[in-house]
Amino acid sequence: MTKEERLKKRHRAEKRFRFYGLASILVALLFVVILVQNIFSKGSSAFKKTVITTEIFFDQDLLEIQNGASQEEIMETDFYDVMIENLIKAYPAKDRAEEDELLKLFSGDAEIEIKKAFLKDNNLLGKTITLDLTASDDIDQLHKGNYPRDLPEERRRISDFQLVIYDYFVENKKISKNFNNYFFNNGDSRDPELAGIGGALVGSFYSILICLLLAFPVAVLASIYLEEFAPKNKITDFIEININNLAAVPSIVYGLLALQILLATIQLPRSTPLVAGITLALMTLPRIIIPCRASLKAVPPSIREGALAVGASKFQSVFHHVVPLALPGTLSGTIIGLAQALGETAPLILIGMVAFVVDIPSSPVDPSSSLPVQVYLWSESAERGFVEKTSATIMMLLSFLIVMNFIAVYLRQKFEKRWN
């Protein structure tokens, strides 16, 4: 091989190597794009729900109340007959079997929706109104185009007759898409069209709030001690090693800790944001301490010495001068730690947050779910409607994380002083 050939070969190798590096970065970036695109394309339809416009006639004979009845009286009244009588008029069905199939196109909450309309204006007796009633999950998915209708009938959840009704609805413009308020307001449900993340949102909020209240002060105080006051001895060395190790312990181990100590020994209530918050706080603590210490360390010694020189005590120099300067870094580290805690699932599963909770928790000691656990729960469900609900929940979760990380970066860039 001549010199020139060898050189060419070496330069080719150089180019190849460079290409591998670039390609790896592109692969990683590509994956981010694919993941986000996949979730968005699956999930964005969940923010709308399919409704069927139906005429409802409030027949006084079927309802055993008078005009101007009180709220309680209406609440106790059975609207089932009114619902049936009106819904079967939505399409000219021939017999009972067809009527049953027709009724299945409406959600399980149709009766409640009718009752709510009546509650709003209780002078409706003997009158007719048009109402947008939520459609069942099957119709919802069909209308959104997520459901293949060209399958043979026995492999479909929707019968041929229901397809005929659906086409009739579409032709007469009786079916449309509305903003899906149920998705944000409702708790969990076995019916995808009624299931929402209201409970999970509140549960996550309480958990993260408790985590913040516990982890932030302790982490700041601990890092101040370790960085500013701790004498160099075996105890502080041991604490340091401990913190580094704790930050690397798999999160599921914290779940086991919570199960044994918080639930079995102290007997805090299962499945509650209280336990979740404490567990997440223990897990987040070392992850906050590490950036807190880094930002304390970044404050130059001249600041401390200046304060000491004018007669401040060690404490005053730290709390009046060092801590305020380190605060932006501390806060952004805390927010990033909380963002990690918000997405954490495994320990929450172990403390029983996978329980099926319909009610929206009203306090941190009520059983509840949380956003990531809700993702896990729904992803295990077979119904097609839950796929879009899961993806939409992930979209909500990711947008919270993006906002939190954005705040963290902003805090650091805006307020952190650069020392040179």
């Binding site: 670039l22 970065i25 105080l221 580094n244 079995a264 172990l350």
Partner: protein
Amino acid sequence: MNIVLIFLITIFSISLFFYGKSKTKTISIKDNIKLNALPKFYGYYLVLWCSIPALVFLLVWSLFEPVIIKSIIIETAANQGATFNDKNEANLIYEKIKAIHLGTYFGDIDSILKESALAYAKFINLFTNSKVVLIFGIIIASVVYSLKKIKNNNKARDDVEVILKGLLFVSSLIAILTTLGIIFSLLFESIKFFSVINIFDYLFGTNWSPQRAFVRDASSITVAELEELKDAFGFIPLIAGTSFIAFIAMLVAVPIGLFSGIYMAEYASIKVRRISKPIIEILAGIPTVVYGFFAALTVGPFFRQVGENFGLTVSSESALAAGLIMGIMIIPYVSSLSDDVINSVPQSLRDGSYAVGATKSETIKQVVIPAALPGIIGSVLLAVSRAIGETMIVVMAAGLAANLTINPLESTTTITTQIVMILVGDQEFDSPKTQSAFALGLTLFIATLVLNYIAQRAVKKYREKYD
């Protein structure tokens, strides 16, 4: 009750603050003595003495009160003639008694329950009263003590700082307490587990089927059942599955992560680096449950489809899908750390290599990487420890059955998956099945600890070499 107490303590502390501040001021003016600290420090001093002992007492009391009352009530119920065979039934009776007391129980109430509920009410009353009395006693004692100190014109600033420093120290101890909590809670159940199942049967058994251990109480296991259980808790398939999936993940993460790290450290312009580094780090910020969902619903079925086209049977919960996605999650751990490590290789080494005519890639391959190797190995080990501790991806995308296989298209299970599967939903405490989850947790804890220790040592040694 607790909230009222905390409120009272707060109010009391705040008023003491103003009392201490003005009192010392008037003393200093009236008696014309120089105070040893600013008046507000005397206020702080009183606040700390008034609140901390009382609050600590309240916390400790609240932690232990329910447990103690429960054991007393279960005992009285037993004395009344209630019968229960194990802990679960005892708990059930206790819950009933509590519900009767609160008026939320609507079942039949027999005389035993009624008596116990009365006893429960009595004890609750007794405990609450003594709590209030004790707390006020503590507050009065500590306030009297601190007022006396103030009258003697103590060095309040120094004293306040000593107390606060103690508080700071206690906060930093929480890390140690957490570690101790983890170790004890894992050891406690694991020891019970290993008293039933031989540790060697666990470590070297090749069959994992804990659902066979459907025994309610570990203490009532017969010899025949024990024989049966002996080979139900074999750890080998789990560690094999875990390592296998972690291995696939590393096959993805190490090349991509390392090459990205090298490119960012050596080739990329500042602009490219500033954009691409945070985007790659997004991969580490995405919750693992999202990866799990993606792996289970998109990647798994996709692989099965592709496999079918080639005439292969691919399980929809294949080790390949879980490993691949886990690998992608881990990329930033490898890339960021190796980027840092490569950046800290001194420029003089590179310059020397360029001086003898090496190209950039030759320099990287023959000089920079060998120099950075301990650090790179450390970062890979950290990534491995992430991979074996990762839970949600494998729970959602890998299988549940413990197969001993090296076919990436079949499903396998991992340690973390089994912990979740055993502990999800209702568990019976004291069954070997539940305890086995803690034994698995202990194994996982030790494994990640060892890996992290080695990795940190490697990175530290390497740093020392060039600092």
